[in-house]
Amino acid sequence: MTDLLSRLPAIILDGVVLGLQFGLLAAGLTLVYGLGGVLNLAYGQMAVISAMAILFAVNAGVPILAAVVVGLITGGLLGLIFDQTLLRPIYRRQGEARVLLSLLLTLGVAFMVDGYLNWNDPTAGLTIQIGGGPIDVFGVPMRRGSIVGSAIVLAVFGLLFVFFRSTVLGRAVRSVIEDEEGARLVGIDPSHMLRIILVLSGVLAAVVAVTQSMIRPVTVTAGFSITVLALIVTVVGGLGSVSGAFLAGLILGVINTFATSEIGTFLSLIILLVAAAVTILIRPSGLLGVRE
């Protein structure tokens, strides 16, 4: 028992680090669903492609910071491409038909990307080294990469918060999530807002790729597991809610770290899956969700 207690601080801190990653990952997915009623199952692949873009830039001799910018731009571009291509037919349907079609089409894209990348170089992975020794946090030695990565995620969440609460554009986006027709009645174009959110979600995917690679390598094989994790956290947090994603991310991150350390990897993933299933069955709107 005391053994566990002494491990607890490390578990919780690791859980928070993981949870922040989960949260930001889910934020991108949940925004797109909340705004456009579209489920993007190629989300993990977007993160992976951004990671590969950074890798490519670094290998080509580009300094790391510029390479990261390349990655972010790649993410944003992917979102834009998605909006300009697949979304056209998807947006012609409504409600359930729209979600279903988006699910299927993005799954197709995910397969194409995954198939190519894994065939091309199955071992490719992005790692961003943050130099320097471990930093002591509440008595627990944390790797610098984890600290920097987490700090970046927190900063991005802060920016998102300010954006949605205090800017005209951010409030306009929220209004479309609240009531699409109401938004149109005040002159807001929902498809324009969706385009903005898609680009944003692409950039967020890239940010996750960057921060995650500071903690552990982001490999080409990770695509689908990233998407599944994002989906689980999104469901628990509530579709359409960024704060829900943040909260659910932290909770699930800590639970996952705890379970992995005490029980085992496979079973801890099952716990996450069960959490998502239970949420759907008992409280489908999730912790803080808007759309069901």
Binding site: R171, S175, E178, D179, G182, A183, L185, V186, P190
Partner: protein, 232 residues
């Protein structure tokens, strides 16, 4: 200001309203009356761009806006308050009103004007729209539409779900707007209220306009009296 000619609209190929022709001139207060199911909402939604008309034209201030999506029509100085209001439930009164001015930042004076018109909203600035009563929500919906300083305000059944006293108050507010020179078009089931408020009107029955005239003419018409005023 608003010229609608031979408009037809409906759902999935079946027209609910046919051959609708009417107009609203600057400064007028015009009503379209009819019972439930006559097609008022279908007509207004098609006119204001929430749905597409199947045929006909809508001309606003000389510009052909037929089939333009709502988000563009609204930016031309055309305000629409639908029957379901479509407020933003988890945003405050203030945020709802602020968005009414989109894409501009909300002018402080405009918001004060709205609060003067609807003092109850001023008391509830920070309240979430979803928690307000029907009457307050109606006020908020009208207030939001006013934030963009429209030249024409169109309302679909503004008294939906309102108790008689509140319905009267609503029309008092609309009358105040009319007196300030705002052009108004109202679709209404509660005919006496609409008649007291407007100068001219049209009667919509089974998807077509069956009668038109000034409020006095309509009030004197025996068909209107028996069908909508409960008089013989």
């Amino acid at each position: 200001m608003l010229d609608v000619r031979q408009l037809a609209a409906g759902y999935q190929g079946n027209d609910v309203v046919h051959d609708i022709t009417f107009h609203v001139d600057q400064g007028e207060a015009v009503m379209i009356i009819g019972s439930n199911g006559a097609g008022k909402t279908t007509l207004f939604r098609a006119m204001c761009g929430l749905s597409e008309p199947s045929s006909g034209t809508v001309v606003f201030d000389g510009a052909d806006v037929t089939g333009e999506p709502a988000q563009r029509i609204v930016r031309r100085g055309f305000g629409f308050v639908p029957a379901e209001r479509h407020l933003f439930p988890r945003m405050t009164v203030q945020e709802n009103l602020a968005l009414g001015a989109y894409p501009e930042r909300p002018g402080a004076e405009t918001m004060e004007v709205v609060f003067d018109l609807f003092p109850r909203l001023a008391e509830r600035r920070k309240q979430h729209a979803g928690t307000m009563s029907g009457g307050e929500q109606q006020m908020l919906a009208v207030g939001r539409a006013l934030m963009s300083q429209p030249r024409l305000l169109v309302l679909d059944e503004p008294t939906t779900g309102l108790a008689p006293k509140l319905a009267h108050e609503a029309y008092e507010a609309l009358a105040a707007l009319r007196d300030r020179g705002l052009t108004l078009l109202v679709a209404e089931q509660q005919v006496p209220l609409a008649m007291a408020f407007s100068e001219r009107g049209y009667v919509l029955e089974n998807g077509v306009i069956s009668l038109e005239g000034t409020s006095e003419e309509l009030a004197a018409d025996p068909r209107v009296r028996s069908a909508y005023l409960g008089l013989s």
